[in-house]
């Protein structure tokens, strides 16, 4: 499947490959420094009990980010 969706719309357990990243410079740079770039495979592990932020797995480690930050990341 190659449906494009925002990372924030992915269900827990779903995974995708990053195709595009946009948005605020600082958050974006931080994510890229940590290895979230075009081509990286990410899996949404779970949402926080209050629905936000979300936890994702990439390159063998766990990362949290808010929905507002995940909205700027398109995966397929």
């Amino acid at each position: 499947m190659s449906v494009r969706r925002a990372l924030s719309d992915l269900e827990a357990g779903a995974r995708g490959r990053v195709v595009e990243m946009s948005g605020d410079g600082e958050a974006l740079k931080r994510l890229m420094d940590m290895g979230l770039i075009r081509g990286t495979t990410v899996e949404v592990v779970r949402r926080a009990p209050l629905g936000d932020p979300i936890e994702v797995r990439l390159r063998g480690f766990m990362l949290t980010l808010r929905r507002t930050e995940a909205e700027h990341i398109t995966v397929e």
Binding site: G25, K29, R30, D33, M34, L63, L65
Partner: protein, 724 residues
Amino acid sequence: MDAVKAGPVPAPAAPPPAHRGGGALHVALIGNPNTGKSTLFNALTGMRQRVGNYSGVTVERVEGRYRDAAGNPVVVLDLPGTYSLSAASPDEEIALGVLLGRAPGVPAPDVVVVVVDAQNLERNLFLASQVLELGVPTVIALNQVDAARAAGLQVDPIELTLELGAPVVATVATRGEGLDVLKHAVAQAPSLPRPERLFSLPADAARALHPVEALLAASGLAAGAAAMESLRLLAVDHTDGHLAGIPGLAAAVAQARADVTGAGHAPRSLEAEVRYGWIADVVERTVTRVAEVGRTLTDRIDAVALHRVWGPLLFVALMGLVFQSIFTWAQPLMDAVEGLFNALGGAVGAVVPPGDLHGLLVDGVIAGVGSVLVFLPQIVILFLFIGFLEDTGYMARAAFIMDRFMRSVGLHGRSFIPLLSGYACAVPGILSTRTIESPKDRLATIMVLPLMSCSARIPIYTLLIGAFVPPVALAGVFNLQGVTLLAMYLLGTLSALGMAAVFKRTLLRGQARPMIMELPPYRIPSVKGLALSVWHRARLFLKKAGTVILSLSIVLWGLATYPKTSPTPGATADQAQEQQLAHSVLGRMGHAIEPAVRPLGYDWKIGVGIVASFAAREVFVSTMGTIYGVGAADEQSGSLRQELQHERNPATGRPAYTPLIAVGLMVFYVFAMMCMSTGAVTIRETGGGWKGVRWAAFQFGYMLALAYVSAFLVYQGGRLLGFT
């Protein structure tokens, strides 16, 4: 500094740099958070550590030393954990500044040790690749190789050495494995060829960056550092302090971005894409997956700890446990400290003849310092818990769970635990705000933290509730006294959150900071590391007690003692003390502020109590004891309660204290920032010097204003409604 990095890259077998200051080798330790970097630092340096601040910022500067096999002294600087040298946070800016030799007061390192986590080589090599480019002799400590093996990953250190062009030493810091080899590699590093950039940029991008690189090199940066900085600047928007003075740099960067875009690359992601592209090749050649591991222990714990239902329940239970222990475990220790100071006062009092010196030592110095040190057990236990939560990895989970809630008042998930600590004592709370990355969030958290009702308010609440709130049952289950106490705590908590929201929308307005945070694997904390971090913080508090608090105690004692008066004939000792206090500067100050506190329903005696408790709020209780001549009083003291209940206003003949006044007074103490220890810590943690003093003064001022207005509204509003 230039002598150290001047070696052009690559320089075959550059001579060892000339060491400064007593010939010690300066080593900087850098690495991602959660790589075991601090454990490695502790293992290398043992107890020989010094903790301070970098000048002008509240980033902790931890330094230690050891002697290498040849007996040469080595100074190790433990840089803050960072994922990159992007200079986006104060921590990263410091790390970059130190490595470039541009941090004021810090010598440029002779050797950099990059700690990389063998379990997570990909992400860790990003920082390593940036550091290698700087051209400073570098050693890679490949840490946690045992955990990596357990996770089915085998990393080949020799292959990695060849790939990186810098010695790689496998270590297990928790067990001290590999330390001797690491020390040897550090000693040898200055005589090895300098590391350099290991990948090449697309030719068109390299051409576009050339003007920026040339500008940076002309400003004094070494060639490798200039190349690293030029690539990094493509993606950052802000001007870093250490580059601000270079004319034409901003324009050159803008031009380079345009050129890079014109060549078909994305300037923002270029650095990450080329570095991670290179890293993927390196990892493929050096890491072997020897076993497939299914769900890890961390995965299984998080399935519960971050579960929609169990997660918050576990969180509440943990916090409940923390508080239960602070108040129950600390009590015997606090009694012991109090007993110790009473005994000390008694011993000194027996030696020193009665008179002013006796009073100064016993009532001023010993009682004053003792009244603050009594909180040391609570502070130590709280630090122990905070350190434990931090080191196990649960703290990041707590921030994850609470972020949504904290964001509703404009704060970050990381602000929650410091605020919660404020229920015990604001001092450890403020000191633990260092985990909050954003300076504005951190300031807002510090500013509102003393609104959380700390344990020093309990004596005041207990005295006034015991004296003026009847123990009637409400709705059959609740006791009015307990409900009143709860209301005071709620009032403090809600106003802390409310004020945070106000500050974040006005004074400390800023963009919402990202919640991009690693959830590290759970770990069993090292006892040594925990003990060291608790000790460093406790020592800070002790130092304050020995300086600021000691001097203020002496001043307060002087105010309560002079000028002298002779007691009326036939007065008891208690009455003589009461008369002396009324006659003293403090007593006069109480009289002087009476017009100001009368709208709150207070007389001059409460005024004296308020003035005396400016330095430490719990002093209010003992001062009231002195004023009412009941000798040594505490909040359980029945005689003080009765005195308060029977006190009449000489002008009206009505009771001087009514339940309404008592509630107003409690509300006053919910808000008022009357604690010199907190003030001292606020000064330190908001930047020190005049900057810190201004923030502390602001904190004190707004809280006093809140206190006054609220007490006024309670009293006057209550009277309008017909309460007494």
